[in-house]
Symmetry: C2
Subunit: 301 residues, 2 copies
């Protein structure tokens, strides 16, 4: 019973998706079978099925209503997602049926700038490929993309042979290194004269700028990118959820903690005699487990 491949939950999610797409699963009111029924039908435990449903819910395909049932989401053909889903511009365009192609492209091997090395979490004198290009939709420039990748992640041959506009797609296709997430910062910026020329806009026109670091599953940054988007051509959105961690106003004190036992941390002698409050500032970035999340919304007055 070798497993290998995607998790059971993911397989189940895709099976359900198929069932929805073909119309075999949901009634015309969009109601899916109950969790018990689905789990039996798919031959998985209810826990696994729920994990699958969670994935589908998180991508917005279904909606769950306590005490009622699980429904197929309304809206256009099952297709998904906002900014929180990491995908390339090319994939986005293909998915939404829009023509897009690469305009002028400039690949250069050089030493990383200070900012780039910082963003990648690497010591300053590191060699990188810098890829700059314009993306067009029809004849109109709609985005200007810059990627900076350490040369040990991508070699020049691969880059020149397999590159068709997206570094992300290239890495995903190769499957190595395994990618996990991207930390993307958003801001508005006025077009510089150079950018304006490349994108055929007026200098000073507002652009949406995304600055991203791409991380592998083991926390290494492998791509630093800056992207400019001409307004009106793209619509980016995010689903913002109310925090699962924030206390529900007024704060609540232990009520179950009194009869259960969720209070073992600061009270009785710890099983692990750990150190004092000494702030963690050991300056080794070598086995740093994340190396670059954090510091998210900062305000500078």
């Amino acid at each position: 019973m070798v497993r290998r491949g995607p998790t059971l939950a993911r397989q189940a999610a895709l099976e359900i998706l198929d069932g929805i797409r073909s119309g075999e699963l949901a009634g015309e009111d969009g109601l899916l079978p109950s969790e018990a029924a689905l789990s039996q039908r798919l031959g998985v435990s209810r826990a696994t099925l729920r994990e699958a449903l969670s994935q589908l819910e998180h991508s917005g395909m279904i909606v769950r209503r306590h005490g009622i049932g699980t429904f197929v989401s309304r809206g256009q053909p099952l297709m998904e997602s906002g900014l929180e889903q990491l995908e390339s511009l090319e994939t986005l365009a293909r998915r939404t049926g829009v023509d897009s192609h690469m305009g002028q492209c400039d690949i250069e091997e050089r030493v990383a700038t200070r900012v780039e090395a910082d963003a990648l979490g690497l010591p300053a004198p590191v060699r990188v490929f810098a890829v700059e290009r314009v993306m067009l939709s029809g004849e109109r420039p709609v985005a200007y993309l810059i990627d900076v990748v350490p040369t040990d992640v991508l070699d020049p041959r691969q880059l020149r042979e397999s590159f068709h506009g997206s570094v992300l797609d290239l890495l995903l296709e190769r499957g190595d290194p395994p990618l996990q997430h991207s930390h993307t910062e958003l801001c508005a910026e006025a077009a510089s004269p150079e950018l304006a020329r490349a994108m055929r806009l007026e200098p000073g026109d507002p652009l949406l700028r995304l600055t991203a670091q791409l991380y592998t599953t083991d926390g290494r940054a492998v791509d630093y990118s800056v992207s400019y988007f001409s307004p009106g051509h793209f619509r980016f959105h995010v689903i913002r959820r109310v925090s699962q961690l924030a206390p529900p106003s007024g704060g609540w004190t232990t009520d179950r903690a009194s009869d259960r036992a969720v209070d073992g941390i600061g009270k009785q002698g710890a099983a692990e005699p750990n150190a004092s409050d000494r702030a963690r500032e050991t300056g080794d970035a070598a086995r740093d487990p994340d190396a670059g999340d954090r510091e998210l919304a900062a305000v500078s007055p």
Copy 2:
């Protein structure tokens, strides 16, 4: 053993957070106790503990490494979050230790415009409160916020008494209706003369604009807001994850599905004799279970 209140997992997450903050849980390398140890220490099952850790991981507080352990994230004092966490500007400012207060505020009761009614998913002639104000940091205007709320969600007394700058915080404090998520669209926009005057900028200066609809747990939209942010004062980011659903390039076929049984949907006779492929287009929005996710990144060439 009445429960009431937050889930066990959430309590556990907060306990762990406390343990991290006080420095009692992690060694100076940031390594937390193993899941087995933690679950025993907190008196919860490992499954529940893992749910708690997942919440912490999702907010970026910890990093998990298969075969190694769970680590406290690097970065400044534990404090979190990007755009995917829904919080008010006031909360953000307080959290980051920045002074912020409301400038001129204008509350008006009127009939919703077509755009507003559409965004709220309500029939056109509906009465709303429109709240417009400038947010200042020190003396500098840093954001311009507009909220539109149906009058049946908020009554004038509450609005005038409890409003201190954030409609979101007002609703969260009241706890009713229960909020779930916000669908937020981002774009860059040049400041109009009016906006420029209110924010003491030059007309044409680039602004980041967030357009959001706020939804309750039962899928009703209760707030439509447009927010403009002066560049340089805020940093917004998003964590973009590689899709859990997308096949890992090349697609994979059943490999476990052959010995397990994840294939019950399109093959043998379904337990539920459901309808044909007839597209679901029944035009009733009444009991629509989501009414407003979807259509995310669209491109208009």
